[in-house]
């Protein structure tokens, strides 16, 4: 009897392990095929000029997405400038002082907003920025992306800050360090690793959005260095190329998609490297 139950248990152990492994493969399959598809279809169109030159009309050889890279980078940078301080600040507030009616309202609002479709965020930015300014602009696009980042960033920050043990807060307060300094210099610093990941996810998501840019930043075929002008972005450029009937443009859509993937990937690696560098200042 003992032997039999042992055999059964061993069998079940193995079966469950194999099942879990299968699930992992199943989950990785779409990811792997996505990467493979983008890389294999994108690489043929990838030249150095593709990163630096302007788009060309149909049929004309060469051309690239230089202005779209610049546009995406500048709008994401603007979104970070506005969105990161507000999102992280709101998260810290919710974690440290959010246990009353106002805090609960903010938390509920953030939760609702993080579920709002991005196209709706685009409409909001259209109403808030594009209509009063009477023109599509990179400014409107960046703000739309910031609006998109803030709610989820606030909620993630709150969770991360709540994970910091009370004992550290108390250690700081007992040294006669004021509450706000404790929050910003001790608690946030302790949560920095997680916050960086959260910020990177938010940035990657913002860089990959098309819908909020469609009627805020619109698009631009030329270099643009002014925030009050329509601005090109990789995502809208990909969209335009992909829905076109031209083979040449389809190729460019794949290549532009690969560029977007590379940029987000590089940013990720760079930030992780920077964090490890700064952590290396303190050796364990």
């Amino acid at each position: 009897m003992i032997l039999r139950s042992h055999l059964v248990r061993t069998f079940v152990n193995h079966a469950v392990t194999v099942l879990c492994g299968l699930m992992v493969l199943l989950a990785l399959f779409p990811l792997g095929s996505l990467l493979w598809l983008v890389v294999s279809k994108g690489v043929p169109g990838l030249t150095f000029a593709f990163f630096t030159s302007l788009p060309t009309p149909v049929g004309e050889a060469g051309g690239g997405v230089g202005n779209a890279i610049l546009g995406t980078a500048s709008m994401v940078a603007l979104a970070c400038l506005v969105g990161l301080p507000i999102g992280i600040g709101a998260g810290v507030f919710l974690a440290e002082r959010g246990d009353h009616a106002f805090g609960r309202t903010v938390r509920f609002t953030a939760e609702v907003f993080s579920g709002v479709p991005s196209i709706v965020i685009g409409i909001v930015a259209y109403g808030l920025v594009v209509l009063p300014m009477r023109r599509f602009s990179g400014l409107a696009g960046g703000l739309a992306l910031a609006l998109l980042m803030i709610p989820s960033l606030a909620r993630t920050t709150e969770e991360l800050v709540r994970l910091v043990p009370v004992s550290l807060r108390e250690a700081s307060l007992a040294l006669g360090i004021a509450q706000w300094k404790t929050s910003l210099r001790i608690v946030l610093r302790t949560a920095a690793g997680g916050l960086l990941t959260a910020a990177l996810l938010a940035i990657a998501r913002a860089a990959g959005e098309t819908a909020p840019l469609l009627f805020t930043a619109l698009n631009n075929q030329y270099w643009n260095f002014r925030p009050d002008q329509p601005t090109a972005s990789l995502t809208v450029q990909i969209f335009n190329y992909a829905i076109s009937p031209y083979e040449d443009w389809h190729q460019k859509a794949w290549s532009a998609a690969l560029v977007l993937l590379l940029l987000v990937g590089l940013l990720n690696l760079a930030a992780r490297y920077a964090l490890r560098k700064s952590a290396a200042g303190v050796r364990t």
Binding site: D99, P165, S167, L168, E170, A171, S172, L173, A174, L175, G176, I177, A178, Q179, K181, R185, I186, R189, T190, A192, A279, G281, V282, R283, T284
Partner: protein, 252 residues
Amino acid sequence: MTAPPKVKVEKLQAYFGNRHVLRDVTIDVPPLSITSVIGPSGCGKSTFLRCLNRMHELVPGARSEGRVLLDGENLYERGVDPVHLRRRVGMVFQRPNPFPTMSIYDNVAAGLKLNGFRGDLDETVERCLIQAALWEEVKDRLRHSALSLSGGQQQRLCIARALAVEPEVLLMDEPASALDPVATAKIEELMHELKERYTIVIVTHNMQQAARVSDHTAFFYLGELVETGPTEKIFTNPDEQRTEDYVTGKFG
């Protein structure tokens, strides 16, 4: 000799919500000495300690009444800034809690740096680590993470950190309960040296420890101060039956 008490507590009450956890505590803490607070779990020892630097009120729903005088000045007076008060009354916690993202050096310097101190940090850090009897062990690796230290070393680091802001009173909440006997002995030795310059109040579960290190002992039971006096008297010839029962191990 009757030096005026460093800390004078008068009719102190403390609550967590509706729970009345400290009742009518009145006690004097003499300067430059060690006062230990003993009593069974849940008797209000830690709460009492946390009322002395106004850490108690940080817990949601917690409040207190009564007066706590530091050099004759009521800490609970309107207009007293608890942040400034806590620089005069430092605290060491039950579990070592160094700042995990900071180096050994930065841990000691944290209280000064974040309070806008402009002076010789190096000198202060060295002095505090020497006072905390840790300097010899860490002087060659000040830039290493505080987490690279052993538990006992971490606790001495926390003591050095507390000393850096130059408090007058040092509160210790079971500072050795998470440490092994060797590390505990080091902390106790250290306390003997520290009382030359600081007034120390220590909460402890360990009655031998209280008998070994302290000059005065206060026995708390069910939120009340049962008896206080010179340590020798409390342990050998207490006035109260409950004190005698506790120190001889009949209950608790």
